[in-house]
């Protein structure tokens, strides 16, 4: 970290993270505010979180968060006492087979996406513009979150229904013609919406669906530009520098200043929230570096064998996520991804991660990037 301003900002961010960690732990482990799960859990601990967790580093006293704890009910055990009377959402992840993992939410998804909204350039995501949401819907939070993002920015979101669990089943069965038909079914709906005079300028799409949409528009003699799209928020599945290059150079027709299309890759999930990225450029070989919305969420890159040790900058490790909101506390969850640790930067004076890809020990067994 050579820039002294960044170093100073990073130190301040660290202090803020420590304070935020303390407050969050106090909230989740206090009998009047905490949720039944953590209050029960605290009884089995050999330490008192209310007294012994003062800083972010102290979270290592907890064992790594097991996402398996989120399978099955009663789901209310995750609702903090202070929110028992609030309207509660439940969002699910996975679930191709067996019981899916559930996370409750009150307002987190709105807060996360309002923070993310601040990173979107108005020139390409014009306030008041309407949106197209082309991604997984159903029990996932993405649909509501994108809709809120559009509303927060003064627009209206049009949504396409897409069930990724069915897509995974089609792939596992080898029903590739059904997969193609389902993709076409979704893309046809998206094109119909885009061509229906709704003044849609912005969209969310997973990389695969964005590619399919752009290719189908081209096949019909149109393009993303001709459809009026200027801002694309993309995520949900793996993003590679090569795919980003293909999208920017070939599907969009160049970088934003020449094509008029700006795409922001994101990384995240229902458990953590949304990490955004610096704009990937040809000069940096379309490298994608993600930065989490600290202090609400923290991304660390840790040693494969010793998850309590962070690797050096530029080194490779497994991604560990921590969520610190009043609605959800998730200390040290070892994600099924790996990547390289990135230095803090001016816009995000805390650690980031680049080169995100499936964790090599689990990659073989994982069906990724399917929709």
């Amino acid at each position: 970290m050579t820039n002294p301003n960044v170093a100073e900002a990073a130190a301040a961010a660290r202090q803020a993270l420590d304070a935020h960690t303390y407050e969050t732990v106090q909230w989740h482990f206090h009998p009047t505010t905490g949720c039944p799960f953590w209050l029960d859990y605290a009884k089995k601990l050999s330490f008192d979180p209310l007294k012994e967790v003062q800083t972010f580093a102290d979270l290592q006293k907890f064992e790594p968060f097991q996402d398996e704890w989120l399978r099955g009910g009663p789901v209310r055990r995750w609702v903090p006492q202070a929110y028992q009377d609030k309207p509660i959402y439940v969002f699910e992840t996975g679930g191709t087979t067996g019981t899916p993992k559930s996370r409750i939410a009150v307002n987190d998804f709105r807060t996360d996406y309002e923070l993310f909204s601040q990173t979107l350039p108005d020139a390409y995501f014009p306030p008041g513009a309407n949106w197209l949401m082309l991604g997984p819907s159903g029990p996932r939070r993405l649909r509501l979150a994108v809709e809120h993002l559009a509303q927060h920015r003064g627009g209206i979101s049009f949504c396409i229904d897409l069930d990724p669990r069915w897509v995974i089943k089609l792939i596992k069965q080898g029903w590739m013609e059904h997969l193609e038909a389902y993709k076409r079914h979704c893309i046809d709906q998206a094109i119909t919406i885009l061509q229906s005079g709704h003044d849609i300028r912005c969209m969310f799409a997973t990389p695969k669906l964005l590619e399919a949409l752009a290719l189908e528009l081209e096949a019909r003699g149109s393009s993303l530009q001709a459809s009026g799209i200027t801002g694309i928020f993309s995520g949900g599945t793996e993003f590679t520098p090569q795919w980003t290059r293909f999208a920017v150079e070939e599907l969009f027709g160049g970088p934003p200043e020449t094509s008029g299309i700006y795409m922001t890759p994101t990384y995240g999930n229902t458990l953590m929230g949304l990490a955004c990225s610096k704009y990937p450029t040809a000069a940096e070989d379309y490298k994608i570096s993600y930065y989490p919305p600290q202090p609400r969420a923290v991304v660390e890159v840790v040693d494969f064998d010793n998850p309590d040790t962070t690797v050096g900058y530029g080194e490779t490790g497994r991604i560990r996520l921590t969520t610190l909101t009043r609605e959800f506390f998730m200390p040290g969850f070892l994600e099924r991804d790996e990547g390289e640790r990135e230095e803090p930067c001016e816009a995000y004076p805390w650690d980031g991660v680049s080169g995100v890809r499936p964790f090599h020990e689990l990659a073989e067994a994982t069906t990724v990037g399917v929709y």
Binding site: M176, A212, L215, E218, T240, Q242, W243, E250, L251
Partner: protein, 497 residues
């Protein structure tokens, strides 16, 4: 007899330094270096020998919009001219130093690199080069045979009048032929070579371990004057292979049984998988089985036993125990030799764990009552090395055709000698790519001729591995690429003044 001591002798790793090459994606002849690369390593040393740019499925789909141009540039030449160019390309493929990515490869270096990534012995790689050369050199005769003597200009023009006075029309079903190529069997490339002289372009997805042949063939064709815009090469993951098969209107796919089953009944895809090739001994010949032993050994062992045309089942009503013992005596002692040894006859399993899991599957099936491992006394079959594994030739005896091992094929010299009454054979053999029938029994011969489970039928002592290139292999490529249809033409009346 060779025992465990001999097996313990590990051969010396060949002391050869292969030039590290960067292979690009080829998009209608233009090289494209991807930000994503896959590394190919020497299967014995682990040393990187190539860095292969990876394409994405979107890129392929987008490029396919120009597929018509691939056919158009080929139609600028007559079929006869393209045949002559392909023959010259065959000579260059065999003998010349040709560009390979950002470097160049001599024929020897090509064989060494192919051996290093696929595990095939070098002399077998060279034999496959000869095979490709032979097919290219005989391209005129092959096309004449596959089209049943059709004037090739009729394919170019779409229709024409044959000498017998009949108008015929053949319509190309796709401007390009998609190819999802295998990693383990360089011999299959002979199947797609006739596409170019029929003015059909190529969209290739090379096998991850065997990119060499597509690149060298493309270089040879370009050097022979074939327009480089007629072909594309997209190395990549499974999504790229799936995109080839979905978006090319005609494709050949090479893979396992699951691939074949997945595309069965899809008129756009000709899927090539395991062959389950067999030798059947009729009751009239089975007492003379010893005179066919050389033929059996060759059918099982040739080309490291990797091909779909290698024999994996020998069926007879009697003497099966003796046949199995005699085969085991010939095949059992064969040892693993270094890849540069001209006597090497076995190929390595270069994918980690694959050799071991294949052997475990065989051992599991051997527990079935009636199955016997006949090569057992010649020492362990599984030979595990630091980065690869070998399986030595394996002969099993099956008391009945219902046993699991009677219907298996593996990527090494493996054969099941199956006891089965002659009258049950035609129904019990199951899908059989090549069937060599050793019988003079006219009734049995006729039954086999009419058996739709058999693709290539050899009547008489012809090894299953012996191909007649003038006959179609697993479907006629001409029929696959062109549709015979009606076309009538007559003069337009003079326009009124």
């Amino acid at each position: 007899m060779v025992g465990g001591d001999a097996l313990a002798r590990k051969f010396q790793i060949p002391n050869q330094k292969l030039e590290m090459l960067n292979l690009p994606v080829v998009r209608w002849g233009d090289a494209y270096t991807s930000l994503e690369v896959a590394e190919i390593v020497h299967f014995l040393t682990g040393e990187p020998i190539a860095s292969v740019s990876q394409a994405g499925s979107g890129m392929l789909v987008r490029d396919l919009r120009q597929a018509e141009r691939a056919r158009a540039v080929l139609r600028d030449f007559k079929c006869d001219e393209l045949i002559a160019m392909m023959q010259q390309a065959g000579q260059l493929f065999l003998e010349a130093s040709l560009p390979m990515g950002d470097g160049e490869q001599s024929p020897n270096e090509f064989a060494q690199a192919q051996s290093a990534s696929t595990g095939l012995p070098e002399h077998l790689c060279k034999a496959n080069m000869q095979k490709n050369h032979f097919v290219l050199s005989q391209m005129d005769a092959m096309l004449d045979a596959l089209t049943r003597g059709l004037d090739l200009n009729i394919l170019s023009q779409g229709y024409g009048r044959e000498s017998r006075g009949v108008t015929v029309s053949y319509q190309a079903q796709s401007p390009v032929l998609g190819l999802v190529l295998p990693s383990n069997s360089p011999g299959v490339h002979t199947l797609w070579l006739p596409a170019i002289p029929m003015q059909i372009g190529l969209v290739m997805k090379p096998g991850s371990q065997e990119p060499w042949t597509p690149y060298r063939m493309a270089a040879a064709m370009a050097a022979a004057g074939i327009p480089h815009e007629c072909l594309s090469i997209y190395p990549g993951g499974h999504d790229v292979g799936a995109a080839v098969l979905t978006h090319c209107r005609r494709s050949l796919a090479f893979g396992g049984l699951s691939t074949v089953n997945q595309y069965r009944g899809n008129p756009n895809v000709q899927a090539h998988g395991p062959g389950f090739s067999k030798i059947l001994l009729g009751d009239d010949q089975v007492d003379h089985w010893e005179s066919y032993l050389d033929l059996m050994v060759e059918s099982v062992y040739r080309n490291a036993g990797r091909g779909c045309i290698n024999c994996s089942g020998i069926w007879a009503s009697r003497h099966t125990e003796e046949i199995a013992q005699a085969l085991a005596e010939r095949l059992g002692p064969i040892e693993v030799r270094p890849p540069d040894d001209p006597e090497a006859g076995l190929a390595a399993f270069t994918v980690p764990g694959m050799g071991t899991s294949v052997w475990q599957a065989i051992e599991t099936s051997l527990r079935e009552e009636g199955a016997e491992h006949v090569t057992e006394r010649y020492g362990a079959r599984l030979d595990e090395r630091e980065r690869c594994a070998y399986l030595r030739p394996t002969v099993v005896h099956c008391q009945a055709p219902e046993l699991a091992l009677a219907q298996q094929e593996y990527m090494f010299p493996f054969v099941a000698v199956v006891k089965c009454p002659q009258e049950r054979m035609p129904a019990a053999i199951g899908p059989t790519l090549v069937c060599t029938a050793l019988t003079d029994d006219a009734s049995l011969r006729q039954t086999l001729i009419e058996n739709t489970q058999i693709d290539r039928l050899n009547l008489g002592p012809i090894p299953t591995t012996q191909l007649d290139w003038l006959q179609p292999h697993e479907g006629n490529l001409v029929d696959f690429l062109f549709r015979s249809r009606a076309l009538q033409t007559t003069e337009l009346p003079d326009a009124p003044c």
